[in-house]
Chain length 124, copies 2
């Protein structure tokens, strides 16, 4: 594991922020001012391939990166705000329907977050 791969992995595991590559870049730059975006992207790709982090695509936002700890997501369909939830584990049921080959799954639940609901009411 290289220096930056380690730093990036720590950031992703410690913060519960679902950070983008750009956010990670700005964070790392605070202590490593010479770091460059390509390094972040390279290491994020390596970490994903190694299965140490997970890339998450959210509509209307650059890719985000998350721990591999099992959890689900609640996404605001207006502003994209993202939070963690823990819904029941579906692995067993999925395997009994689809067979043993499942690696993992991704469950996103879309709603309208309190902030966006307020804003809409204001407008009417």
């Amino acid at each position: 594991m290289t220096k930056y791969a380690n730093l990036i992995l720590e950031f992703i595991n410690q913060s519960k922020e679902h950070m983008t590559a750009e956010q990670l870049f700005l964070e790392l730059k605070k202590t490593e001012p010479r770091v460059v975006q390509a390094t972040i992207y390279n290491n994020l790709n390596v970490l994903c391939q190694e299965g140490l982090i997970r890339r998450m695509s959210i509509e209307g936002s650059p890719d985000r990166y998350d721990t591999i700890q099992k959890h689900d997501h609640l996404v605001c369909n207006k502003c994209g705000a993202l939070s963690d939830i823990n819904f029941e584990d579906l692995t067993g049921k999925l395997e009994s329907q689809l067979g043993e080959g499942i690696l993992f799954y991704d469950l996103k639940v879309y709603y309208v977050c309190p902030k966006c609901r307020e804003n809409k009411e204001e407008k009417t």
Copy 2:
């Protein structure tokens, strides 16, 4: 509903291909040679806002567009190949855990598709 919005909606609903904007552009160009990408993107955005189609972000691929008919997805974690599955409906359970505000949800199950499994075996 405008001409292109209609054509695009039909394509998305008829084909089960989870098409990208670019693929739709190439399809439409066959019969409407003067069409331009911006039109596709504009109309896709409108259709998404109207709730007539759904945008899906897949890691490592441009956005794809899908019918709003309820179904889940099986995604190959190597090549990104995408297919539809019908897992049990989770809406009830999600609502009882999270409240009534749920719009919809998105379940993607990751595995390694037969083709990619073969390729790996060949290499070893």
